[in-house]
Assembly symmetry: C2
Homo-oligomer: 191 residues x 2
């Protein structure tokens, strides 16, 4: 293996651990010291990969977004019936929140709320990823309901995913998934 | 003024500042040191009021919840038509998120997502307040739609408030409020 390839592999390993930590404690608590300790690396070694805490946090969000695309967005593109893509997307999104392989919640959703008032690169990254997600939902909503109020549908759909997360993870509501899917069905039927 | 009353007043002043800080940086970033500095008090002085960071965070959440009750919940009780209470509540909730006097977002919503994976007293307090809010919405939904799927309505309503927060504060969507209110109208019409 070349040194470059080895460096890339280490970089990826650090980011995977960073995603895991961020999903549990939130992105704000993700700093270079504790992450280095967890990985058994030196702080200076980690600094060679990420020049700052902010750069680490931004790359961690980008990594989560890439995983989200693989797990949620890409499979939706294979659905041939465009009017069904919103429903397939939502089902994948809830599956992502329930069992994406992350121990904690979705770091992008968490960052969207944690960093909304903290100007800087992390907020910008959260806004970029969340904005992209929102535009995607609007597009799927337009295909599902060409004559519907697509902005209102998109607002309700993304909200339902957030409320699912809180009812499932914080309130421990056993029927969270069933209730969420019924609410989604009602939302589409009424739209 | 008695010493006791003076102590109470200081306690309240500390909590108001803590609410403000938590609304901007999140509850996780609320620690005794920076808060003492901001208030021009000694750390040991602050420790006399709150024995730990967790106790400070829990009391801060309780304070936010009390303000939420004053601003959102209490006015709803004066609405004589019980079927209208869900709509009045939602309108107050959105007003709270838009201009509650807090510089940042709602610390209870933020804590609900930030602390869902961190067992301890702060998570317990967030779950208690959020659970109470959720049961209240279910009650209003039952009055508004006695034959409707009240759990699904409550899930959609609380989600819509969360999505409003993100669209308004993070994405800076100018029409956020208008879209949110249209989505709420569609939700009730379809329920």
């Amino acid at each position: 293996m070349t040194d470059l390839a080895k460096g890339d592999r280490t970089h990826a390993r650090i980011l995977d651990e960073a995603v895991e930590l961020a999903s549990i404690n939130g992105l704000g608590a993700l700093t270079i010291g504790p992450l280095a300790e967890r990985l058994g690396l030196s702080k200076s070694g980690l600094f060679a990969h990420f020049r700052s805490k902010e750069a680490l946090q931004v790359e961690t969000l980008d990594r989560v977004a890439a995983r989200f695309r693989d797990f949620v967005t890409e499979p939706v593109r294979t659905e041939p019936d465009k009017t069904r893509r919103l429903a397939v997307f939502f089902e994948r999104w809830i599956a992502w929140l329930d069992r994406s392989g992350l121990s904690g919640g979705c770091p992008i959703l968490a960052a969207a709320i944690e960093f909304d008032d903290v100007p800087g690169p992390v907020r910008d990254a959260a806004a970029r990823h969340f904005g992209e997600l929102h535009r995607l939902i609007v597009r799927f909503a337009r295909a599902a309901r060409p004559h519907g109020d697509v902005d209102a549908i998109a607002a309700s759909v993304s909200g339902l995913a957030m409320s699912h997360l809180v009812r499932m993870r914080l309130l421990g509501e056993h029927r969270a998934r069933a209730v969420t899917m019924r609410a989604f069905g009602a939302l589409l039927a009424g739209a």
